[in-house]
Amino acid sequence: MEPEYSPTVVDHFEHPRNGGHFEAGEGVIRGTAGSVAQGTMFVLSARVAGNRIEAVRFEAYGCPHCIAAGSWLSERLVGLEREQLRAWRWRDADQALGFPLEKRGRLLILEDAVHSLGEAWARFIP
């Protein structure tokens, strides 16, 4: 039996928003979590201006849910402040994308990637 994917997951998997990354440089921060060996990895890269995120790119290795989550997240992070990254929780993504129970653990990796992005930001603007 194949897993079921919600229309939102299919849409983001088929047409990922903001795939890729920004070249390292002025105002660019990078958050990462997971690994290919683990089966799931997220790399988030963001351009910040002032105290808000201006643009986001994502890379993901993982199942369709994970790729969709990266894409979905890349749109949601724009406009957020650093504190909001730290406060970000996986439940939002779960609600939007409908992860099956046994895949919830993957969302914690996504959460780690968001927090890692927040920490990079903290290092960048201490």
């Binding site: 039996m1 998997f13 990462t32 290919v36 369709p64």
Partner: protein, 393 residues
């Protein structure tokens, strides 16, 4: 001749099951029609003897395709039942003469799980490990044999990789040592020449639906001289010399007979055409880069190509390829994330095993199917790699 489906998917899953060949379907349809062969083949009256004659003709067709005598063929519901009847049947019958049996780690589940059941019944199983190419060397079998060994079971062609075992060499060793030799030939009938006598095979499982016949009918070849003791799995009317009771399904048996006759008659031309298509597919896939063949490069059946894709996660690859009806030994669903035990036994990592796809081609596959498949795979692999952090670093 290409079967069309209401689904636009490209069917490259012949190793899972075949469409029924239209020539076979027509004969089955004749049986199902009111003027068909509806009698019970065990009934003595005209309806019964007519059905019986069709059953016996099919038995001859199947026997001829594998170099057997017709009386050595027992009808079953498929290779799963044949495997179980052979393995559990021989082991249980001869249990008091010895409780050691031999098989490999890359057998079909029907064989593996029958042997696991024997373990529960107090048998000791030697699980041979094939090389990285998927091949069990005959010498491994010889070394595994003991005075109390009752049975060796090894498949002819592996269903996931298409790798061919040297069953003739293994058969010779078993015959020399007086050990019963069972072969699961579900994937090889109609694809490779088979001669049970020349190959010293004592029991052989076959199924119609992998050879363009119907699902739900199979057979077990059982050597009759000298007779091989076998305990049935179930009991009843005593059909099939008491080894397999139950009303014989004439239309199914007629379908299997015709499928095997056609399979053997068309084998060489089928194999030539399918081999050419498979090479075309492999050229297309290899051009993508970062792909590797699973299993032995040449000791393989024409229609199966099992390929692993580096740097692409398996579930996303499969979902991305959903226009193709292909198969993979892994299933990320239900949290089990279980990688193909066959590819794992060949030494592939869980991850590579999960990123492997089995493309299997058959009688109705066209060049267009192949070209479209290559296009889809190229597009998706590129897209997923592009999104992957692993590709850039």
């Amino acid at each position: 001749m290409t079967p069309k489906s209401s689904s636009p998917a490209i069917y490259l899953d012949y190793a899972a099951t075949n469409p029924v060949d239209p020539r076979v379907a027509e004969l089955m349809i004749d049986c199902l029609r009111p003027e068909g062969a509806h009698g019970n083949p065990s009934s003595g009256h005209a309806f019964g003897t007519r059905a019986r004659a069709m059953v016996e003709k099919a038995r001859q067709q199947v026997a001829a395709a594998i170099g057997a005598r017709p009386e050595c063929i027992i009808w079953t519901s498929g290779a799963t039942e044949s495997d179980n009847l052979a393995i559990l049947g021989v082991a249980r019958f001869h249990a008091d003469r010895g409780r050691h049996v031999v098989t490999s780690r890359t057998e079909h589940k029907a064989v593996i799980d029958a042997f696991k059941q024997l373990e529960k019944e107090g048998f000791e199983v030697t699980w041979l490990k094939p090389g990285a190419d998927g091949i069990v060397r005959p010498e491994q079998v010889r070394e595994a044999l003991r005075p109390e060994t009752q049975l060796v079971s090894l498949m002819h062609v592996n269903n996931e990789t298409g790798v061919i075992q040297d069953v003739a060499a293994i058969g010779a060793i078993c015959r020399e040592r007086g050990v019963a030799f069972h072969v699961d030939a579900a994937q090889s009938a109609g694809k490779l020449p088979i001669n049970v006598e020349a190959m010293n095979i004592d029991l052989m499982s076959i199924t119609a639906h992998k050879t363009y016949g119907p699902k739900g009918i199979g057979a077990l070849y059982i050597r009759r001289r000298p007779p091989l003791g076998l305990r049935p799995l179930s009991f009843g009317g005593g059909q099939e010399t008491g080894l397999r009771s139950g009303t014989l399904p004439t239309h199914q048996i007629v379908g299997m007979g015709a499928a095997f006759e056609i399979g053997e008659r068309d084998r060489e031309s089928d194999v030539a055409r399918i081999t050419a298509l498979r090479e075309r597919l492999w050229r297309g896939l290899a051009a993508i880069g970062g792909v590797e063949l699973n299993g032995h490069p040449t000791e393989r059946v024409a229609g199966v190509l099992n390929v692993c894709f580096h740097n692409v996660e398996g579930e996303s690859l499969r979902f991305g390829l959903r226009e193709l009806a292909v198969s993979s030994g892994s299933a990320c669903s239900s949290g089990s994330d279980e990688a193909s035990y066959v590819l794992r036994a060949l030494g592939r990592s869980d991850q590579l095993a999960q990123s492997s796809i089995r493309f299997s081609l058959g009688r109705f596959t066209t060049e267009d199917d192949i070209d479209r498949a290559v296009a889809v795979v190229s597009r998706e692999v590129a897209r997923l790699r592009e999104l992957s952090p692993a590709s850039h670093g």
